[in-house]
């Protein structure tokens, strides 16, 4: 470059801020060498060309100069010129973008090929649309180039930029964010094209989801197997194109469930998910989400069948299919249950409860031996059967065998063993009762022990005799279990094959006896003998005689006449043998196999020898760490001391004991003492006093009268979101709900809380009668007219009390005239005894707070807001300010007044009736207020309750009707009625699925009414909503309904209606 040319360039450059000159000077020195003089001039002038383009493009020019040396190093000359031209073009459009371009180039160019420079620049340019935001987006693109190009292929970047570009048409902010995310996310995953393609699919329908989808991509990589990922993306894309809205949450949820699924199941799950796309996008998500839970219960092959069934449902009815795949329909549950080989305790609980009660002969309740129970009681071991005399705890899940029948058989054997303890009197042990088959050694042993050994219970008294309590208790358990097993298999021949199978399985799972020290080995021997291992039992060679003696004692107890005291006597003898033995390990070569099946008569051991082991003061032969062998699985836990103690606390301690006193005389201290001295496995997290405390509470709770009803027992259960519910508190009942779109019940969907209505003033009742005295007089006359109809004389009967004289005369005349007489000559008093039961259900929804004269202005038809805040507001406006004095009459007041009149009338004719109110908010909380129970008399209290009936929340009619019907069902009456008095359509939060249509609520109510009818109850719906015709026809059309145009007619109409219906 000659000075003249330089001079010219410098003059031009000096027109701009000096920073430009500086940048130029520095760069020129670096580039001159490689460019050569001619090109350096061109290079310099290009810069000036850039600077000239716009007032601020000198900045671009300085970026250009600054970048040049490094760019030149990267790409060489001819391409360099192309780079410059692209930049100049960019600058024409946006200086900012061009500046970014130049600035980013040194870093980016090494990653792309020279021929792609123009395309790269054009990518950036495509993002820029002349606005400030678009320019900044384009700049961002150039600036992040290194990150993108260093990992992504050029094509991938191209695709990505196209995506960003189309996003930018929706939102620049989102596009920018996506650009940022892409740069972060794309390098980390392999399925870039797939992800971009998926995102592209979203741009049209749900572009807001793009960001979430990018964020979720990492989850896909983490939980979906690599080979299957492209398929997963393709599936998601198909769904997105099919219009699925919440793609990102779909990804989050399905990847989570796939993550829970073993990788070998992924192809299966995906394959079936793909097959569902055509039918319903929603079903795909539902299926993938429930797959892990379903596969936990059934095998892959069975899942195929379950899926096939679901597909059938889906084809008939999309909503039904979706509910099916969510496992939110009864059918899905039923099919699953049918396929599953697992036996769930909860499912067979009613069945086994009745069975256990039959077998035990005493009142028992069944409960799952779950972790929950374990925490509450301490003594109920998790998943192990046990009984406390009133409850039987059973494992909650049985999954030991490949078929359901085998699993159930196992559970049946387990329950029978527990009922066996009750049936065959394990807990009836009495210290002083003589045994049937042994010479009783207990008195002699007690004399030998000398010191006082009495205990809190008969059982403790017995155990206290032994120097080593733990050993004695172990021996007693095995011997008593063996007695029970024998008794049961002897008595129940049908159960015997299953029982023997369970015993054999249990035997095969036992540890090697040779690993145990001698004493434990002897107890283990006892266990094996009790499980019928009679051949080739390893026994220490030194103690064969002892082993044989033990076996002989055990065999005596395996006798139909043996009672628990025999087990105790055998325990004394076996204890005497085992406690004599040194508790040492026996080397493997010192064992020999013995057969115990031949019945060698064993002579009774000398009593002295037995007694020796109970020498006073001989605190057990040196306590050398005896440890119990593991228990027998199907026998569960056997806790005779505890059961006797609990029995005493409950006042079952025998006839001679006064119950009240029994309860009082056992203090918590005594319990703790018992717990400490008996070697019960108490959890670490549960100290003795806490456990004793919980037992005291448990017993106290059991003493109170229980409220039981239809529905399900009160098991403690956490509510799962969107799933079935369990009643937790007393007087709560769970009911199904009808989903008309799925054409199936949603199992255990609603909880009805029964509550006693508050009591108010009696004045309301009497005042109403006063006010309506005229009407009441009319009603009374009408109702009194019902009575005489009860004893009508019925004539013209073929047989009866006596001949009807008129008919007789006629017949005689006929005979005389040679005509065939009518044979129906008799009359009879027909005792049409009135036997009516009726339940009135009053709508206590918020809308009944409307003033009656305004009731018609805004129909009580408004939607209940589902948002709690909005709901409260809505409520408040409807209820009005509670503090303000009410001067107007509300719908509910008229309802109540009508009830007063009718109740008064009903008292005259003696029909049995119940009055209930209902309201609630949400399916977990359907409130059911008892104003008058069916059995209750019209007491003062009832009258006062009526006063307090007030508008509350929403109207979920279905569950309330179901609950009322279940009450009526229990009533023994010939004719039963169910009157629903409401002011509008049923409505509640979530009572219309997705909160859109009211149809759901109406259909559920209809189904509830139909169910009532199936129980021989005549339902009748009465509403004061003038728009009632349209939905009541659906709801109760073929049953019976009436719409009252004027609420003020209610007091007159209700009794009249009742009379018409029931006479």
């Amino acid at each position: 470059m000659n000075p003249q040319e330089l001079e010219h360039v410098m003059t031009e450059l000096q027109k701009y801020p000096s920073a430009l000159t500086g940048a130029y000077e520095t760069a020129r020195i670096a580039v001159e060498g490689s460019l050569g003089p001619v090109n350096t001039v061109r290079w310099s002038e290009d810069g000036i060309r850039i600077a000239r383009q716009t007032p601020r493009s000198w900045e671009v020019a300085s970026e250009y100069y600054r970048a040049s040396p490094r760019v030149l190093q990267a790409i060489g000359y001819p391409q360099f010129q192309r780079w410059v031209e692209a930049g100049i073009d960019l600058c024409g459009e946006s200086p900012t973008v061009a500046a970014s371009y130049f600035r980013a180039s040194p870093a980016v160019l090494p990653h792309i090929q020279a021929r792609q420079i123009a395309t790269w620049a054009n990518l950036g340019r495509s993002l820029s649309r002349g606005t400030w935001k678009s320019s900044s987006l384009a700049s961002r693109f150039f600036e992040t180039g290194t990150e993108l190009y260093s990992t992504l292929s050029f094509r991938e970047v191209e695709l990505f930029v196209h995506l960003v570009e189309s996003l930018s048409a929706r939102s620049y902010d989102l596009a920018a964010e996506c650009l940022h995310l892409g740069q972060r996310v794309l390098p980390t995953i392999d399925e870039r094209e797939e992800l971009i393609s998926l995102a592209n699919a979203l741009v049209d329908n749900s572009w807001r989801e793009v960001r979430g989808t990018f964020e979720a991509a990492a989850r896909i990589s983490a939980s979906v197997e690599r080979k299957l990922r492209p398929r997963y993306y393709a599936l998601t894309e198909r769904l997105a194109r099919a219009g699925m809205q919440n793609v990102s949450s779909f990804i989050l949820e399905t990847t989570q469930s796939l993550g829970q699924l073993d990788a070998q199941y992924h192809p299966f799950a995906l394959q079936h998910a793909e097959d569902l796309v055509e039918a319903s996008a929603e079903a795909v998500g539902a299926f993938l989400k429930s797959a892990p839970a379903v596969l936990q219960r059934i095998s892959l092959q069975q899942m195929e069948a379950w899926y096939g069934e679901g597909l059938k449902v889906l084809k008939e009815n999309v909503d039904g299919g979706v509910a099916y795949f969510r496992v939110e329909s009864s059918r899905a549950e039923a099919v699953l249950d049918q396929l599953s080989s697992t036996v769930e305790f909860e499912k067979v609980k009613p069945l086994l409860t009745v069975y256990a009660n039959a077998m035990a002969g005493t009142e028992v309740e069944l409960q799952g031996a779950s972790a929950e129970m374990h925490r509450n009681h301490g003594w109920v071991a998790v998943e192990s059967a046990s009984t406390d005399g009133m409850h039987i705890y059973l494992p909650t899940i049985v999954d030991r065998h490949p078929t359901k029948d085998e699993n159930f058989a196992w559970l049946k054997v387990v329950s029978t063993h527990q009922t066996g303890h009750l049936e065959l009197g394990s807990f009836a042990f009495a210290y002083d009762r003589p045994s049937m088959l042994f010479e009783d050694l207990r008195p002699q042993v007690a004399a030998q022990r000398g010191e006082a050994v009495a205990g809190n219970t008969e059982m403790s008294h017995f155990f206290n005799m032994f120097p080593t309590r733990e050993l004695a208790s172990d021996i007693f358990s095995v011997v008593e279990d063996a007695r029970i097993d024998f008794g049961l298999t002897n008595k129940y021949r049908g159960l015997r094959p299953d029982y023997l199978k369970v015993q054999a399985n249990s035997l095969s799972a036992r540890q090697d006896i040779r690993e145990l020290p001698v004493r434990a080995a002897m107890v283990e021997l006892l266990i094996r003998l009790s499980l019928h291992q009679l051949k080739e039992v390893p026994v220490p060679s030194r103690f064969v005689a002892e082993a044989r003696a033990i076996a002989a004692h055990l065999r005596r107890v395996q006798h139909p006449d043996a009672i628990v005291e025999d087990a105790a006597e055998a325990t004394i003898r076996i204890y005497a043998i085992i406690s004599r033995l040194p508790n040492e390990q026996v080397p493997p070569e010192d064992w020999e196999n013995q057969d115990f099946d031949e019945d060698t008569p064993q002579e009774e051991e000398a009593t002295d020898q037995v007694l020796q082991q109970f020498q006073a003061g001989g605190e057990g032969p040196e306590d050398d760490g005896y440890e119990s062998p593991e228990g027998v699985d199907y026998r569960g836990e056997f806790k005779p001391e505890l059961v006797q103690m609990l029995g005493r606390m409950r006042g079952q301690g025998g006839a001679e004991e006064d119950q009240q006193q029994a309860m009082q005389e056992i203090s918590q201290e005594m319990l703790e003492e018992l717990l400490r001295e008996s070697d019960m496995d108490i959890d670490d997290d549960m100290d003795v006093s806490a456990m004793a405390n919980s037992m005291m509470k448990e017993v106290a709770a059991n003493q109170q009268p229980k409220t039981k009803g239809q529905g399900y027992s009160d098991i403690e259960h956490q509510d799962e979101e969107g799933g079935s519910l369990e009643p937790v508190t007393p007087r709560s009942y769970v009911y199904h709900e009808w989903d008309f779109r799925a054409n199936d019940y949603r199992p255990r969907w609603c909880i009805v809380q029964e509550k006693q209505a508050l009591t108010g003033e009696r004045k309301f009742f009497t005042d109403t009668l006063q006010t309506y005295s005229g009407l009441m007089e009319q009603i009374r006359r009408q109702f009194e007219a019902i009575r005489p109809e009860m004893y009508r004389k019925v004539k013209h009967l073929p047989e009866g009390e006596d001949i009807d004289f008129d008919a007789g005369l006629e017949a005689v005349t006929d005979i005389r005239n040679k005509r065939t007489p009518d044979e129906r000559l008799y009359w009879r008093r027909n005792k049409a005894e009135r036997d009516v039961g009726v339940v009135f259900l009053l709508d206590m929804s918020a809308s009944t707070a409307e003033a009656v004269d305004e009731a018609r202005k805004d129909g009580p038809d408004g939607d209940v807001p589902s948002d709690p805040v909005a709901y409260t507001m809505w409520l408040r406006t409807r209820r009005g300010d509670p503090s303000a004095r009410r001067t107007y009459k509300r719908i509910i007041d008229v309802e109540k007044e009508s009830m007063v009149l009718l109740m008064n009338a009903l008292e005259m004719i003696g029909d049995r009736y119940g009055v209930y109110g209902f309201s609630g908010f949400g399916r977990e909380n359907v409130e059911f207020y008892v104003i008058k129970e069916l059995q209750e008399q019209l007491t003062d209290r009832v009258k006062r309750r009526l006063d307090k009936v007030a508008p509350l929340h929403a109207t979920r009619m279905g569950p309330a009707i179901r609950h009322a019907a279940s009450k009526l069902e229990k009533l023994d009456a010939k004719t039963k009625f169910l009157f629903v008095v409401s002011d509008g359509r049923p409505q509640d939060r979530g009572y219309s699925r997705e909160g859109v249509e009211k149809e759901y609520a109406v259909q559920d109510t209809r189904m509830a009414l139909l169910e009532a009818r199936a129980k021989d109850i005549t339902p009748f719906a009465l509403t004061v909503d003038r728009n009632g015709h349209d939905y009541l026809r659906t709801m109760a059309g073929d049953m019976g309904y009436e719409v009252l145009p004027d609420i003020m007619d209610l007091p007159r109409r209700l009794p009249a209606l009742y009379r018409r219906l029931t006479v």
């Binding site: 009613p350 086994l352 039959a358 077998m359 049908g494 001949i803 017949a811 009879r828 005894e833």
Partner: protein, 289 residues
């Protein structure tokens, strides 16, 4: 006219006499009680669930008393009849006493079963008496106290009971509603003998005899009976009757597999509730292989 070959036997109500000794195993002292009451002609009320042997007991006692009376030569030629009336909702007083029947030339009176028993002496057994209409009590009361009179209103007659006559009624306190309780005025004219299902040790031999099954099957059936009776109040209103157990035994004798026999004779007869049926069935499968 040629004699028609009759394959059935029909006789007048008052001629029905129990000649063969019915099989009956006394559970408690009911035989002595009945005999004592009969000697004093005190009417008897048998209380107990259906199928617990009330009817069989009456037959047995009728036979036994007939034997005694015959030995004492205190019987007419006809013997000691047993008149049984199963009461139902529509049973009226005239159904018991008698009524006029219409004939071509007027009417003819015909005695009802109660009248016949009163006339001829013997036991009149009103089974499930609470089921009958209330007007029957008017008849029962004078007959059941010291008067021993039957008023035949329509004839304008009062009938004095035959010295051998005894009124026996039965009543199942279990399943009727409160409406169908026996009135106290009626109740207090009878000595009440309580019946319940026999204990297992006794029921076994009964089943063995009645059904003709072997001892083991019989005792298994008795065990089944005991277990099912534990369920009174657990979905079952009534325990299984001895009668049903005997039927099950008879089915077994005819070659039906025991489990199946119990299912048809016991389980399905007991309840219509599916869940309870399954539970009871589990008991059956536990007992019978």
């Amino acid at each position: 006219m040629a004699e028609t070959n009759q394959s059935y036997r029909s006789q007048h109500i008052e001629e029905y006499v129990v000649h063969q000794q019915p099989f009956y195993l006394p559970v408690k002292d009911e035989v002595q009680l009945f005999e004592a009451a009969y000697r004093e002609r005190v009417p008897i009320l048998l209380k107990g669930p259906t199928g617990s042997g009330k009817t069989r007991f009456v037959e047995f006692m009728s036979w036994r008393l007939g034997q005694d009376l015959g030995a004492q030569k205190r019987l007419s030629k006809a013997g000691f009849p047993l008149v049984t009336v199963a009461c139902h909702e529509d049973l009226t007083a005239s159904d018991l006493v008698g009524r006029y029947l219409l004939e071509v030339e007027g009417t003819r009176w015909i005695d009802g079963p109660l009248t016949r028993a009163v006339k001829h002496g013997g036991i009149c057994y009103l089974d499930e008496v609470v089921e009958a209409r209330k007007d029957t009590t008017v008849l029962i009361h004078p007959l059941a106290d010291h008067r021993r009179l039957l008023h035949i209103e329509k004839l304008g007659e009062v009938l004095e009971a035959h010295p051998n006559f005894l009124l026996v009624i039965s009543y199942n306190p279990g399943y009727q509603s409160a409406l169908k309780d026996l009135k106290h005025s009626t109740r207090q004219r009878f000595v009440a003998v309580e019946f319940d299902f026999p204990p297992r040790e006794l029921e076994g031999p009964i089943i063995e005899h009645e059904a003709g099954v072997d001892r083991e099957t019989a005792s298994s059936l008795a065990l089944l009976g005991e277990k099912i009776r534990n369920l009174r109040g657990h979905g079952l209103q009534e325990g299984v009757s001895t009668r049903l157990l005997i039927y099950a035994g008879k089915m077994i004798v005819q070659g039906i597999a025991p489990r199946r026999a119990c299912q048809v004779a016991v389980v399905w007869g007991l309840t219509d509730d599916h869940e309870t049926q399954r539970s009871v069935n589990e008991v059956v499968t536990s007992i019978f292989p």
